[in-house]
C-alpha cells in the first residue's frame, strides 16, 4: 500500500524546494511573525506618555508627580499650564494620561482636608486605560497612606502597630508578568497552523488545477499513497518550523522552556495531525487554489480568535465557549504554554492531547473519504 510513497515524497520535496513561493512560506512568515509578536505585541503598559497639569506647584504636588514618574509606568511628556491643552494633547494622541493637581492641593493636605487629584486617560484603548487608572490609583493610595501615617505619628507619637491589609502578590511561572512569555509560545502554535494549513490546502488542489491530477489518476497509485505523499512533507516542514521558532523564542527572547522537549514534539505531532488534516480537507473540497486559500483564511481567523490566544475563553458567552472545543489551537495553546512556562507534561495535559488525537484522526479520515481518484 505504501510502496509508491517514497517516490511521491521525493517528487514533492523537489517541487517544494524549487518553488520560490513555497520556500517563502516555509521560512519568512515564522520569523517575521515571531519578531512582530516578540517585540511589538505587548500588553504591558510602561512609560505611558503623560502630561502633568500642576496648578498648585508646591512641594506636595511635586512629590506626587515624582512618584508617578518613579513608578516607570508613566513618562512625563508635557507640562501644561491651562485646561484647554488637555483636550488638545489627548485628541492628538500626544499623551495617554493627564494628571491634574488643583490649586490648593498642599493647603488641603496640611489642613487635614481630603485633597482632590484628577487623572484623565484616553480610553480609546480600554485595556491600557484600565491598567493606567489602576496604577495611578495605587500610587495615589500609597502616598495618601504615608501622609496619614505621618499625621498620626505627629499627633500621637511613634506608631507601633497599625492594622490593615498588606497583599503580597507573587506571579508564578512568569515572575515579571512579561506578556512576551505568554504570547511567544502562542505565536508558535498559530504559526504552525498557518504554515501547514496554507501548504496542504494548496497541495491537492494545485494538481487539480494544473491538470496533473488527471495524469496521476490513470496510474496505479493508491489514494492513501497520494494523500500521504502530499502530507508528510508538510508535517516535516511543520516540525522544522517549530524547531526554528522555538530556538528563536528561547535564544533570542529568553522565553523559558521549563518542560521537556520530547513532550513538546509529541504535542506538536498531535496538533499537526489536525492542521494537516484540515488543510487536506480544504484541498479536496476546493476547485481552485484561490478557493482553497480563501477557505483557509475563513477557517484560520475564527480558530485564532476562539483559541484563547488573545481573549480569555472564560470571558466568552457560553455558546461560543462550546465552539472553542472544536478548535485544535485551543488545546495546543494549553499544551505549549504548559510545557514552556509551567514545565508540566502529559500527566496533566493528557486531556488536551487526547482531544487533538481524536480531532486529528477524524479530520484525516474525512479528508481521505472526500478524496476520490475520479474526476
Amino acid at each position: 500500500m505504501f510502496g509508491r510513497l517514497k517516490e511521491m515524497l521525493i517528487k514533492e520535496f523537489i517541487q517544494i524546494f524549487r518553488d520560490p513561493r513555497t520556500r517563502f512560506i516555509i521560512f519568512l512568515p515564522p520569523i517575521i511573525q515571531l519578531l512582530v509578536f516578540g517585540y511589538a505585541v505587548t500588553t504591558d503598559v510602561k512609560n505611558a506618555a503623560t502630561a502633568i497639569y500642576d496648578q498648585d506647584n508646591s512641594v506636595a504636588s511635586r512629590e506626587l508627580t515624582s512618584r508617578f514618574i518613579r513608578s516607570r509606568y508613566f513618562k512625563v511628556k508635557e507640562n501644561i499650564r491651562e485646561e484647554g491643552q488637555i483636550r488638545h494633547l489627548i485628541d492628538h494622541s500626544r499623551v495617554k494620561a493627564v494628571l491634574q493637581i488643583n490649586k490648593g492641593f498642599e493647603n488641603d493636605l496640611r489642613s487635614g482636608r481630603t485633597a482632590q487629584v484628577q487623572m484623565i486617560v484616553d480610553a480609546t484603548d480600554s485595556n491600557t486605560a484600565g491598567i493606567l487608572l489602576d496604577y495611578g490609583q495605587r500610587i495615589a493610595q500609597e502616598y495618601s497612606q504615608e501622609i496619614l501615617l505621618d499625621r498620626v505619628a505627629r499627633s500621637a507619637g511613634p506608631v507601633r502597630a497599625i492594622g490593615g491589609l498588606d497583599l503580597q502578590s507573587r506571579a508564578w511561572f512568569n515572575e515579571n508578568l512579561e506578556s512576551r512569555n505568554f504570547y511567544v509560545p502562542g505565536v508558535i502554535a498559530i504559526l504552525l497552523m498557518l504554515v501547514t494549513l496554507m501548504l496542504t490546502s494548496m497541495a491537492i488542489v494545485r494538481e487539480k488545477e494544473m491538470g496533473t491530477m488527471e495524469q496521476i489518476m490513470v496510474t496505479p497509485i493508491s489514494s492513501m499513497e497520494f494523500i500521504l505523499g502530499k502530507t508528510l512533507p508538510f508535517a516535516l516542514i511543520g516540525f522544522f518550523d517549530m524547531v526554528l521558532v522555538v530556538l528563536i523564542a528561547w535564544g533570542w527572547f529568553d522565553v523559558p522552556i521549563r518542560g521537556s522537549l520530547g513532550w513538546l514534539f509529541l504535542g506538536t505531532g498531535l496538533y499537526l495531525m489536525s492542521t494537516l488534516g484540515m488543510g487536506l480537507l480544504i484541498s479536496t473540497i476546493s476547485r481552485t487554489q484561490q478557493q482553497a486559500l480563501m477557505t483557509t483564511f475563513f477557517y484560520f481567523q475564527p480558530m485564532v480568535l476562539l483559541s484563547g490566544f488573545m481573549f480569555p475563553i472564560e470571558n466568552m458567552p457560553e455558546p461560543v465557549q462550546w465552539l472553542t472545543y472544536l478548535d485544535p489551537l485551543r488545546y495546543f495553546l494549553v499544551i505549549i504554554r504548559g510545557i514552556f512556562l509551567k514545565g508540566i507534561g502529559p500527566e496533566i495535559l493528557w486531556p488536551q492531547m487526547l482531544a487533538l488525537l481524536v480531532m486529528g484522526v477524524s479530520v484525516f479520515l474525512l479528508a481521505i473519504h472526500r478524496f476520490k481518484k475520479y474526476l
Binding site: 517516490e7 518553488d19 496533473t212 495524469q215 490513470v218 496510474t219 475520479y374 474526476l375
Partner: protein
C-alpha cells in the same frame, strides 16, 4: 479478444448527455481515431474508457476488463495522455519520466533501458535536464507520450495529442505512433484534424455524444451520396457564402482557397455555380470532380444534422 470495447456507454452531466449510447470495438494493434468537433464528447469518452470517470450507464472493457468495476486493474494495461499537459512543470524531463516509472513500479534495471529507448524515440535526449515547463508545445506532447509509455502499456489513449502543435511536430508524432503500432500497441487517439483521421486504420465520428459513423476512412467516404466538385474562385470565401445562400439545402465547404460542393449532377451544378458567382463579379478559375475526403463527409453529416439533404445512404 478486442483491445477496447464499449457497450451503450453513456455519461450525463445534469441535463446534458455528453456521451450517448456509445458502442464500439477496437482490435488489438489498431490505430483508432475518434473524430468530431469540439464538444462532441471526445474527452469524456476517453475518460470513461480509461476508468477515471464513472459512466452513467453502459460499460467499457479494456482487454476484457471492465473500466467501471476493474478500473484499478486496467491501469497497468493502459497509457493515457490527457488533452491538457498533465506533467509537472517544475520537474525536468528526466524527473518526470522517472517519477512515472516509479509510480508504475517499473523495475530499476529495465527502467534505465526504457528511458533511453523513449528519449531516443521522442528525440528528447538533449533536453532531458530541462524543466518541462520550459519545453515547446511539441516537445511537451512528446514528453507526455514518453511518460504514458514508460510502463509499456498495451493500449494507448491519446486525447487530442497534436492540438495546437506545429505541423512538423505533428508529423513526427504520427511517425512515433506508427512505430508503436508496429510493436503491437493499440492506439486510441482523438483528434479534431481530419487529415490525421485519414491516417487511422479506423475512424469513429462522434457528434453530440453519438457515434454516427465508425469504419475505415475509405468505407466512410463511400457513405457519401454523390460526388465532390472542387472549385477555385478569385475570392473563395465570398463565393462559398454566395453558393450557400443560393442552395441552403446542399453542403458547401471551404477548404483553404478551394470550395467543395457535394453534388449529384456535377455538370448542372457547375453551370449553376458559375452563374451565381458571376452576378457578384467573381471569376471561376478552375473546376474538377475529386475523390471525397473525410472532411467532405463530415461536413455533409453536420449539414444533414442541421436539416439539410441526406448525405448518407
Amino acid at each position: 479478444m478486442s483491445a477496447i470495447r464499449a457497450e451503450g456507454l453513456t455519461k450525463r452531466f445534469g441535463d446534458v448527455t455528453a456521451v450517448d449510447q456509445l458502442s464500439l470495438e477496437v482490435a488489438e494493434g489498431e490505430i483508432f481515431g475518434l473524430v468530431g468537433p469540439d464538444g462532441a464528447g471526445k474527452t469524456t469518452t476517453m475518460r470513461l474508457l480509461t476508468g477515471i470517470m464513472d459512466a452513467s450507464s453502459g460499460d467499457g472493457w479494456v482487454f476484457g476488463r471492465s473500466v467501471i468495476r476493474e478500473s484499478e486493474a486496467i491501469k497497468d494495461d493502459i497509457g493515457y495522455m490527457s488533452q491538457r499537459f498533465g506533467l509537472y512543470h517544475d520537474l525536468t524531463v528526466l524527473e518526470n519520466i522517472r517519477f512515472y516509472a516509479d509510480i508504475y513500479g517499473v523495475p530499476r534495471r529495465q527502467c534505465e533501458q526504457k528511458i533511453d529507448e523513449l528519449l531516443e524515440l521522442s528525440n528528447l535526449a538533449p533536453f532531458k535536464d530541462r524543466r518541462a515547463g520550459n519545453l515547446s508545445g511539441g516537445m511537451k506532447q512528446k514528453l507526455g507520450l514518453s511518460c504514458a509509455l514508460i510502463h509499456t502499456p498495451r493500449v494507448l489513449f491519446l486525447d487530442e495529442p497534436t492540438n495546437g502543435v506545429d505541423p512538423l511536430y505533428r508529423r513526427e508524432f504520427w511517425r512515433i505512433l506508427y512505430q508503436l503500432q508496429r510493436q503491437k500497441v493499440t492506439v486510441f487517439v482523438s483528434t479534431a484534424y481530419l487529415d490525421e483521421a485519414e491516417r487511422c486504420f479506423r475512424v469513429g465520428f462522434l457528434h453530440e455524444g453519438k457515434l454516427i459513423a465508425c469504419d475505415t476512412p475509405a468505407n466512410i467516404k463511400k457513405l457519401l451520396n454523390g460526388q465532390v466538385l472542387e472549385l477555385r474562385f478569385s475570392n473563395a470565401r465570398q463565393a462559398a457564402a454566395l453558393l450557400r445562400e443560393d442552395r441552403p439545402e446542399s453542403s458547401v465547404g471551404l477548404f483553404g482557397d478551394r470550395v467543395h460542393m457535394l453534388t449529384q449532377d456535377p455538370e448542372r451544378d457547375l453551370n449553376q455555380a458559375r452563374s451565381v458567382v458571376a452576378k457578384s463579379h467573381l471569376e471561376l478559375l478552375s473546376s474538377r470532380v475529386i475523390d471525397p475526403g473525410l472532411e467532405d463527409v463530415f461536413i455533409s453529416v453536420l449539414k444533414k444534422d442541421a436539416g439539410g439533404t441526406h448525405a448518407f445512404e
